[in-house]
Amino acid sequence: MVRWLTLLSLRIAVRRLPSALRTEMRAEWSAELHAITARPGSAARGLAFAASLAATRPGAWQSPSTIGAQMSTMLKSGWKPTVLWLLAGPVLATAVFALLTAARALPSDGEQFTGLVQVALLAAIVGGLVPVGRAAARPGMVPGRAPVVWAVVLVAAGAIAADLVWPVVGLGDTPVAYAHGLVTLLVALAFWAAVVLATERWMGALVRRGRPVLATLVAVVGTMVAVNLALVAPAWLIPSVEAWGYNYPPMERTFFELPLLDATFEQNVPQAHLILAMSPYLLVALAVPVLAYRWRIAQGVPAGVPGPALDGATAQLQT
C-alpha cells in the first residue's frame, strides 16, 4: 500500500512538472527513491519524498524573480516590439495630456478656439494611432502575450497609482472625494476591459472566418463602445458622480467630444477624478495592442516570433 502510494505520488509529481523537465526528473527521482528505499524500514521515508514532490507548486520550478525574468525574456526576444507596445499607450496619452494643458494656457476665443483645440487633439490621436496600427500589421513587430499583458497591467497600475498619489501630493481632495475617485476609476477600467475582451474575441472569430473588413469594423466600434462605457458607466452606477459636477455629453456623442471632456469638468470635481480626463486617450491607445495581438493570433501567426518574410521597412526596424 505504501509503495503504491509512493509511486502514485511520484507519477503526480512528474505530471505537474513543466513538460521540458519530465523525462530527466522522472529518471532522477526514480534513482533517488531507489537510494532511499534500499535502506531497511524506509518505506515511509520514500513516501514522504514522493509526497513532498507531488505537493510542489508548479511555479517553484521557475526563478522566484518572475517579473524580472519575464521582462528579461521579453527584451531578449525582441526589444523593439516590446518597447513599442509598452510605450504606445502612455506616450500617446501623455502627448494628448500635454496638448490639453498647453491649450488651457492659451487665451480662449470662444467656440472657434475650442473647435481648433478639438481638431488638433483629434489629429494628435489619429497621428499617434496610425503608426502604431501600421506597426501592428507587421509580423515581426507583434510581441508575445507577455508584453501585451504587461502593457495593460502597467498602465492600469499607473493610472490607479496616480489616483492614489494625487491627494497625497497636496492637490486637496477630502478622503471621501478621494475614495470616490478611486472607485469611479476602477468601475471605468472594469467596463473598458469587459468590452475590449468581448470585442477582441468577436473580431478574432471574424478574422478566422476570412472577414477582415467586418473584423476591422467590429474592432473600431468595439473600441469606441469600450471607451464610452468606461466614461459613462460610473455615472450610471454611481449616481453621486453627477453630484460631483461631471457634465458628460450623451453617450452617442461622447466619443466625438472626448477632447472637450476635460473642459466640461466644473471646479468642484474631486481632483482624483481628473485622471479620467486623460483616460479616454489612454483607453483607446491600450485597446490597439490588445486587438492587434488577437488579430495576429487569429491569422495563425505565432506571436513573438518574427515572420518569415519581412518587408524592407520591418527588416530595417529589426536590425
Binding site: 514522493a50 526563478s63 524573480s65
Partner: protein, 107 residues
Amino acid sequence: MVAELRMTVPVLRVLAALLDEPDTARYGVELMEATGLASGSLYPILNRLRTAGWAEAEWEDVDPAAAGRPSRRYYRLTPDGVRRASKELATLHRQTAAPSTKARPAW
C-alpha cells in the same frame, strides 16, 4: 551567462552545502540530508541554480545492471557559482554577525 537568482534561506542552505566541498558532486538525497530540506523544496532550487548557471548536473556513468541501481544525477557548483555563492554567504555572515562587543571593566 549567469542569470540573477533571488536569495532565500533554502537557496542559501543549498549553496552552503554545495560550497562545503565544491569539488565534490552530490546527489539529491545527500543534499536533502545536508540541508534538511524536503525533496519538494530541494529539486526546484537545484533546477533554478542550474538554469541560472550557478550549478551544473551530471549523470553518473554506471551500468545500472551491474550496479544494481539506476544511475544518479550529481550536482556541483560551477566556477562562477562558487564565486557568487561565496560572496552571497559572506554577505549573509556579515549581516547576521553579532556586533563586536569590547570587554569593558565592570565599573
